[in-house]
Symmetry: C2
Subunit: 202 residues, 2 copies
């Protein structure tokens, strides 16, 4: 599709436009209920054109997911690397994720709704996505292990602690997204971080 460098760039731009449209539509209707023509329309192109840039509906879906997952992973890593203490790390990790998902609700809706569902069905769907998820947790676990070695937190199993942080974070995010129940500002995040800190302190 693109041979000269000029062509190549315009091709990439179009791919991005398609992905952005896909995020919007998938987020609104879910994978199964989304019709490829809707994505094309949202992107302002014909259905046939979409198939020039992606080989299938599923590949569009995965490409959108991958891009965002990588960005989130990068931001999480940066946050953890900059943290000066385990408390900082914990707070940053939770806040970065909550903020990212707030700013990319489309992605979140897809990620939470379909990706987790597909995992649950046993189908791995994408080894890379799976690895990214694991890596995020492993990073946090390492951080806890180090803090435990320094005696700053109790000698808990760092992996289990990281998983628990993940679970709590996911809850925060999902609740924000649904906007069910009473509206929650920052207070719920602060509460959750505080609870986790207390649970980990010596």
């Amino acid at each position: 599709m693109g041979s000269s460098p000029r062509r190549k760039e315009s091709c990439e731009r179009k791919k991005d436009a398609i992905l952005q449209a896909a995020r919007t539509v998938f987020a609104r209707k879910g994978f199964a209920a989304t019709v490829v023509e809707d994505i094309a329309e949202e992107a302002g192109i014909g259905k046939g054109t979409l198939y020039l840039y992606f080989p299938s509906k599923e590949q569009v879906y995965l490409a959108a997911l991958h891009e965002d997952a990588h960005t989130l992973d990068g931001e999480s890593r940066r946050a953890l690397a900059e943290a000066r203490s385990w408390r900082d790390a914990l707070r940053s990790y939770v806040e970065v994720r909550v903020r990212y998902f707030e700013a990319h609700q489309d992605f979140l809706r897809i990620y939470m709704t379909e990706f987790r569902g597909m995992c649950m069905q046993g189908r791995p769907l994408s080894a890379e996505l799976y690895r990214l998820a694991q890596d995020g947790e492993a990073l946090l676990a390492q951080c806890f292990a180090a803090a435990a070695a320094r005696g700053e937190i109790r000698a808990v199993d760092p992996e289990l602690a990281a998983l628990m942080v993940s679970d709590v974070t996911r809850g925060l995010i999902e609740r924000r997204l649904r906007a069910w129940g009473r509206p929650l500002g920052e207070s719920d995040t602060a509460f959750a971080v505080d609870m986790l800190r207390r649970a980990l302190e010596p």
Copy 2:
């Protein structure tokens, strides 16, 4: 479909058989990928017969979900009512849910995979299911509020605390189901309960 009491009972038995088949198939393939004929075959009947007992694929799905959700709700209530202290309540709540889902993995797969996804899409899907979920959390919140009033736990927002317990429990359940990562026995449940206790203690 059933007029005499004799008829009525056989009708209920058949409905149950269909629901059990539906659970198996929905759990294996998800809602969208499940074909009504698969459910009928699993139940050992023809497709037309299924439509004599349920008006649509979606109603079969919801009926299966409702039945299990009610049972789980009942067991949760009983566990909380029997608890003699907030620690007991916390442990029981988590354990009852983990055990129930372990014993009803089919239900769990449906519940976790599709129901949550559908909620996330904004579609309420079933007001009753939604209410049951809320009720479970409210019950736990009440329990925490009482304990806080008695000074047994810190003066936390009981609703937020209950939500956090929910999130952690869900994580335990999902991990058990996926059987990804290292195999976890009872240790993760015990760990989670212990962490939550520490976070709540004065």
